[in-house]
Symmetry: C2
Subunit: 251 residues, 2 copies
Amino acid sequence: MLTRTPRGSPNKNHLLARGIMLWRCIADDFEQMILVGKYDNAERLPAESEIAARYGVNRHTVRRAMSELAVRGLVRTERGSGTFVKTDKLDYRIGERTRFSEIIAAAGHEAEGRLQGHRLEPASEEIAVRLGLKPGDDVVRLEIVRAADRVPISVATTWLDGQRFCDAAKVFRQLRSVTRTLDYYGIVGYRRKWTRISAAFADAVDAGRLRLSVHRPILVVESLDVTSDDKPVLTTRGRFAADRVALIVES
Amino acid sequence: MLTRTPRGSPNKNHLLARGIMLWRCIADDFEQMILVGKYDNAERLPAESEIAARYGVNRHTVRRAMSELAVRGLVRTERGSGTFVKTDKLDYRIGERTRFSEIIAAAGHEAEGRLQGHRLEPASEEIAVRLGLKPGDDVVRLEIVRAADRVPISVATTWLDGQRFCDAAKVFRQLRSVTRTLDYYGIVGYRRKWTRISAAFADAVDAGRLRLSVHRPILVVESLDVTSDDKPVLTTRGRFAADRVALIVES
DNA sequence: CCAAGTTGTCTAGTTTAATAGACAAGTGAT
DNA sequence: ATCACTTGTCTATTAAACTAGACAACTTGG
């Protein structure tokens, strides 16, 4: 636990946590305790006023910290009742029909996809092979952040044939779903051909987009989707916040 | 490199670096670049005004960041001339006569030792064996932070026989040197019997004391010193900031 | 010596983190 | 229904981060 000069005398702790705001220290402290298992899944945290007293800090500061934890998807707070730990993971089933929006909606959550950036670029060796193109051919690259109930779940880099889908970014921004975007291009029954799962740590950029700390683990999910007549149409490199998602593969 | 909304519109980057002060972001950014080798040892950093422009930030903010880097011992700044990277390491020779103050002074720096805490405690198995006591016997435990030119070099936990040196903490606080403290007790020619060197990462407490980031490496130096007639007198577990010190063992 | 470029210091003003206190609104148990 | 306890919201104040600009002190190279 983090300790401060209790009260009265202003903070002399330039030693500990220089340049880090108080609420952030408290938030990180609780994240640590939660992730290390000091609190169980649906357990109630101490009341804001008690935490405030414990740290020798104003309740508003604690509230700011809790709001941060909520953004990170670690707690859920209920008026009149308390703040509860939320470390259960979303089950994300990977199969032939893998659609983010559908999976989230089926689990009773609000799905959301935001295009963070896009670019037309020459296909790398790897991407070209996957999509059945020649290296150097134009491909559309989309960076999409996906969230359930406003909590970021994954960031995905998606590549499509640059000729056929040159307006993909514009279309996606309108329709806000990969499924509907492909639908716009007349592709209805696309299916997952293969999925490759590995693990890593979040880099600074992904950590920011996923609202994760840099040292948190991510599931790296590479995949290829094909049309109903088996033509490659879309390949993806997704990074899932491992603290928030579990991948389910049935066989 | 970290980027912000350049100017005019107030910071909308609550996304990146929430709860981290601006100067701290810049300092960490430069630490990263320096440690990764983007700047050579005595190389000059860009002028404060240029850095400020580059980040879209006031010069004072950059100055605060540079001051932080100076505290971390990563740069040295010269009026009228510039700010220079300082990644060369202090050579710390380990031999029969290993005295912090002497080594630092011989290298032309100002040595300093501050007692951060002390305690009378029962000897652990390990410490008892080293000091020739029985486990559970009282030992004095000192926590000392050592610095060269105000930059922390090491933090050391030192154990002494609790009966013979029960006032050691008080004496050290007066004399500010282990050598002089032992001298006070009539021990003049103590010498290093053995030294054991390993490596680890700084934990939160040591990182704070050494003004290091938590993920930085440290050299763990355990040692035993004996009197001239070969009686154990003092054993230590030191943690040296590996970014600032290199240990030299001649043979 | 001079001029250009650098860090150091000062004053002043704006924005935001953190404090302090009060009360409304909701929950849950008796 | 009520009571103790919780989170949500409001107003006001203080401390500190950040901005802005000016100028002094110093270094370096011509």
